[in-house]
Symmetry: none
Subunit: 183 residues, 4 copies
C-alpha cells in the first residue's frame, strides 16, 4: 500500500483531494466519476491515477486525512480529566459540526462513505467511547458504558439529521442535551 506523506503534496494533488472530497460528499463515491473529479479540479484525468493509483486509492487518501482530523478533534476531549467537561466538549463537538463548511462536508462524507461501503470505523470512536464511559462512571451513572454508547448513538442520529434533513435545527437539540446532562 502507498504511504501518503502529508509533507510533500503538490498544489494539484491537493486540488484533486479537495475536489474529490466535495464531489464524493455531494454525489456519493460510486456516482462520482474520476473524470468529474479531474474536471472539477482542473487537472487531467491521468494525474489522479499517477498520484493516487486508483479511484479507491483516492478515497483512502481522503479517509486517512479524515482520521487525522478526527484524532485532532478528539484529542482535547480524550485528555480531559474533568468528567463534566468530557461530556460538555463532546456536545460542543456536535454543535461545531454544523458550523464550518469544510468540517461539515468532511463529516458528511464520512457518513456517506460509511453507508456506501458498509464499514463503520469503530476504532476511531473507541477512545472517545472510553473517555465518556469513564466520565459517566465518575459522575455516578448506573450503567456508564451504556450511557456512553447512548450519547454516541445520539451523535450519529444528529449527524444524520444535519446532513439529510434541511429543516433540522441543531441549536435547540444541543440546548436540550446540555440541560439533560447538566453541563
Amino acid at each position: 500500500m502507498q504511504v501518503i506523506t502529508h509533507f510533500v503534496m503538490t498544489e494539484k494533488q491537493e486540488k484533486i483531494l479537495h475536489s474529490a472530497l466535495e464531489l464524493f460528499a455531494k454525489e456519493g463515491y460510486t456516482a462520482t466519476s474520476t473524470s468529474k473529479v479531474a474536471k472539477h479540479a482542473g487537472v487531467s484525468e491521468g494525474l489522479i491515477f499517477r498520484h493516487f493509483g486508483s479511484k479507491e486509492g483516492l478515497l483512502d487518501a481522503i479517509l486517512k486525512e479524515g482520521e487525522e482530523q478526527a484524532k485532532l478533534l478528539f484529542a482535547s476531549i480524550v485528555f480531559e480529566t474533568d468528567p463534566r467537561l468530557v461530556i460538555a466538549k463532546t456536545i460542543d463537538m456536535i454543535e461545531s459540526l454544523g458550523k464550518s463548511k469544510e468540517g461539515f462536508e468532511f463529516w458528511k462524507l464520512q457518513y456517506k462513505i460509511k453507508w456506501e461501503t458498509e464499514k463503520y470505523s469503530e476504532q476511531k470512536m473507541e477512545a472517545l467511547h472510553m473517555s465518556l464511559s469513564n466520565a459517566f462512571n465518575k459522575l455516578g451513572y448506573e450503567t456508564p458504558d451504556l450511557e456512553a454508547t447512548f450519547l454516541l448513538i445520539t451523535m450519529d442520529g444528529i449527524a444524520t439529521r444535519l446532513c439529510l434533513q434541511e429543516s433540522f435545527q441543531v441549536e435547540s437539540m444541543i440546548t436540550f442535551l446540555r440541560r439533560k446532562y447538566r453541563v
Copy 2:
C-alpha cells in the same frame, strides 16, 4: 383513509422487487446494476424495464411498498391513546427492526437511499412525531416536542449502528431505553 390498490403482480415481478430490495440494501442503489438484479432474480434484464420502466422506477416501486409498510407499522402507535404505550410501542418497533430479515433489509434500504438521494422523508415521520410529542406532554415532560425529536433521533442513531456496525448489540440498548423512559 385511503384505499390501497394492490396491483396484481406476476411471480417474476415480485422476484425482481425482492432481489432489488436485497441488493440495493446490501450494495447500494448506484452500485447495483440492473443486470445484477436480473441475474439474482433469475429473469432477463429487459423484464425489469417492461415492468418498472427504468432503474429509478424500480427503486420507486420498492420505496412505495415501503411507505405502505411504514404506514401499517406506525398505525398501531398513532392510534394508541395510552401515552406510556405510545413510547413503549415505538421502542418495540426499534427492537423489531433487527428481527425479520425482510424488515431489516427494508429499513436498511430506506437509510441507504436517504444517504444516496439526500432526501429525508420528513412527512413519513410527522405522524409519529406528533403522537410521541403528545404522549410526552401527557406524561408531564417539560419540553415534549424536543423529547419526541430526541427519541426519533435516537432511532436514527440506532438504525445507523444496526446497519453499519457488525458488533452492535441492540438488546442492551433497548433495555436501557425502556428503563430510561420507564415503559
Copy 3:
C-alpha cells in the same frame, strides 16, 4: 412468402397498417418500433407479428398496397391516347400529390422508404415512362425517351421539395410546367 388478401382484412389489421404507414412516414422505418406501432394502433404488439409475420412483412404489406394505389393512379394516364393529355395528366398527378392527406403521406412514405432501403422500384414507373416517351414522340420531340425521363426526374425533385421543404409552393411550379409543355 405470405400472400396478403385484400378482401379479408380485420379492423385491427387495418388499424395496424394505417398506424404503421403514418409512423413510418413521419419517423422513418428504422426509427419506428413495433411497440410504437402497436400502441398507436391500440392493439397488442404480438398481433402485428401474427398478421404480418415480422416488421419487414408489415412494411411489405404497406408497399404492396402502395403499388396497387400507384397502378390505379397511373391507369388513366397509361390508357390515354392523346399525347398532350398524357403529359397533362402526369402534371395533374404531381399537383394532386400535395392535396389529400392520406395520398401525401403515402407518397412521402414511398420516398422515405426508398432512401432508407435503397430500392427504387423502377418497374412501377416503367409503364408511365413508356407512355410519356410515346407521347413525346408523337408530339415530335427530338429525344422522346430522354424527355420522358426528364419529366419523371422533375417529379422526383418536386416530391422531394414537397416532402422536405416546408416553404415550397407547388402551384407556381405546376403552372410553370404546364406552360413549358403547352398543356
Copy 4:
C-alpha cells in the same frame, strides 16, 4: 468572409469521420450503429464518444464538414459573372457529383439525412438559387426565378436517381440538360 478554423484532428478521429460518412451514406444514420462505425474505423467504440460526444455529435461533425465543402463547391459558381457559365458550372457540378467516391458519398449522405431528419437546408442553396435566377434574367428568360427553382429541382431529382436507381445513366441526362440550356 468567415475564417474557417480547422481543428487539428488525430488520425483516428478522421478514420471515425470517414467511416461514419461511408456507413451513414450506405445504410442510413439510424440503421448504422456506433459499434459498426467503430469496427469499420478500427477503433474502440468509446473513442467516438470521447471525440464527438454522441452519435448525433458525430453526424453534426460530418454535416459541418459537408457545409464547408458545399460552400467551396458553390463559390466558383456564385462568383461567376458570365450567365451562361453560371448555368454550365451548375450542370458540371451535377455531373461531377457521380465521379469522386468521397464526393458522391457526401451528397448521398446529405440527401439521406434530409429524408431522415425532415430538414431541407434551404439556406445552403439560397446563394446558388440567386445566382441562377440572376443568370436566367440576364439571358432574357421570362420567369428567371422559376427557371432557377426548376433547375435546382431537377438537381434534386437527378441526385435521387443517382443515389437510388442503380441503372441510372447520368451522362445522357447531362448532355440533354446542356443542349436544353445551350451551354
